[in-house]
């Protein structure tokens, strides 16, 4: 699968799918669009998400280290991106808005 150029300076609208608990926290329903300027990465997408919805700070990433919380995973285009570097470019389909970026609670509920 191809990816966007990391030097991309364009503006992209990324569709984020949040788990139900985080939709409640953010006060949103359905997908959450975020407008990202420049490279579209996990870090840049989540930075914009937390700017647009400050109540989500600390719920997906640790507030201090900015590392992904242990029981949160990131999926897109049928791939698990959880272990990718936060500055790695996201798939083209996410950048172009044809596929969402999924924030998922790890399957640890029994």
């Amino acid at each position: 699968m191809s990816t966007a150029e990391t030097t991309d300076d364009g503006v992209h609208t990324v569709r984020i799918v949040l788990p139900a608990h985080l939709r409640t926290i953010a006060g949103v329903a359905g997908e959450v669009p975020v407008t990202v300027q420049g490279p579209v990465t996990t870090r840049s997408v989540l930075d914009v998400l937390e700017t647009d919805h400050p109540r989500l700070a600390g719920t997906i990433r640790d507030r201090q280290t900015q590392r992904r919380r242990a029981f949160v995973r990131f999926f897109a285009c049928e791939r698990d991106l959880s272990q990718d570097e936060p500055d790695a470019p996201l798939p083209d389909a996410v950048v172009q808005g044809t596929e969402p970026f999924l924030v998922v609670g790890a399957m640890a509920g029994g």
Binding site: H21, I25, F71, G105
Partner: protein
């Protein structure tokens, strides 16, 4: 007409139970924050309509909620609990060192006089204070930075600061307790702290009467006698009459001296309640009988209170924050169980009745007396 509002934190949400002073007909409101662990809720003594709630999740971290209308509606406030400076290290279960890492808020203690001021006891153990209604939090880092900090270790539930007691007239004095470090007191508003564990003995640590390292489960105090403290420790029920400077055991005739909660009657400072639990691994009532024990002599002599409580096949636990008393003329006593029952006694413990039977596991029970 006066009444009570019982605030119940559970593994899967919060519930608000209300009744008039008879405490026989109950309205159950909830779940609030469904699916989240609500470790503790507590109302402000200075403004009973203001309630703070610790909403936490292993998945999504810590949220603090505040209600300004008695629990009818809620608003998310600040959840940023950043340790002051470089947090350092404490002992792990195996004695190795591990960095201090924030996990959750165990206990919220609103100020007795200022509605915007609230304290938070957190895991890994530290004390935070907010003076803006929970929007922002600042650590009182003199506690965590105490010279004994590197020797603190977690109890089974984590290294949590779970008890915060405010002196009723001296706003510079606070008591806190940490599992498993022990009890501490500040006399200067939280800048410096004194371990107050003299007289405690714990067979689970190499030096059984060490300055710190004791697994204190809960401390209670009556506001009319703020120098008298009652403690439920991992083993032993203890009493201090000198603000924690020294302790002596008052377990007396209890069937087991293990347990979690301890509380004091609202109008009788020598009347104390505990819930003996068989342990230290079973964590259920001895003989499958849920019994609250009451001492009217400040300890040592205890009577079992059983009327209305299950006396067979009962294997629930009552956690450290899951007992409370109201201050109506006939003092009410409340407890919540890990089986999801919340019981009330409207006659100081003589008889009990369930308010609800089938909530998620109860983590905490607090009560507000409304006049």
């Amino acid at each position: 007409m006066s009444g009570v509002r019982v605030l119940v934190g559970t593994r899967k949400g919060a519930f608000v139970l209300t009744a008039d002073e008879r405490r026989t007909q109950w309205q159950v409101d909830g779940p609030h924050f469904a699916g989240w662990e609500i470790y503790h809720l507590k109302g402000s003594p200075a403004d009973p309509d203001r309630i703070f709630a610790s909403q936490t999740s292993g998945w999504f971290g810590q949220v603090v909620q505040r209600s300004d209308d008695g629990g009818a509606t809620w608003r998310q406030v600040g959840g940023d609990f950043t340790y002051d400076g470089v947090p350092g290290q404490h002992q792990w279960y195996d004695g190795s060192l591990r960095p201090w890492e924030f996990t959750r808020v165990w206990h919220l203690e609103p100020s007795l006089t200022e509605p915007d001021t609230v304290y938070a006891g957190v895991e890994d153990a530290a004390l935070f204070r907010s003076t803006d209604g929970g929007e922002s939090w600042q650590e009182l880092s003199g506690l965590r930075e105490h010279r004994t900090g590197p020797s603190w270790q977690p109890g089974a539930g984590g290294m949590c600061l779970h008890t915060i007691l405010a002196h009723p007239t001296d706003d510079q004095r606070l008591y806190v307790a940490i599992s498993a470090a022990g009890a501490f007191r500040t006399d200067d508003g939280g800048k410096t702290w004194l371990p107050i564990n003299k007289g405690l003995r714990s067979g689970e640590i190499p030096d059984t009467d060490a300055e710190v390292g004791h697994c204190v489960h809960r401390i209670a105090m009556h506001s009319s006698r703020p120098d008298t403290l009652f403690m439920q420790k991992h083993w032993d029920v203890m009493r201090s009459d000198d603000a924690g400077d020294s302790w002596h055991e008052v377990s007396g005739n209890l069937p087991t001296d293990f347990g979690f909660p301890i509380d004091v009657h609202a109008h009788e400072p020598e009347t104390v309640y505990v819930v003996p639990i068989k342990s230290d691994s079973e964590h259920f009532p001895p003989d499958g009988r849920l019994r609250v024990y009451r001492s009217r002599t400040g300890g040592d002599e205890w009577e079992a209170l059983t009327e209305g409580l299950p006396q067979r096949d009962c294997y629930v636990n009552v956690l450290r924050d899951a007992m409370a008393v109201d201050s109506l003329d006939s003092c009410g006593v409340y407890l919540g169980t890990t089986g999801g029952q919340v019981y009330v006694s409207a006659d100081s413990g003589d008889s009990w009745a369930p308010i609800v039977r089938d909530l998620p596991a109860v983590l905490s029970v607090e009560v507000q007396t409304l006049r």
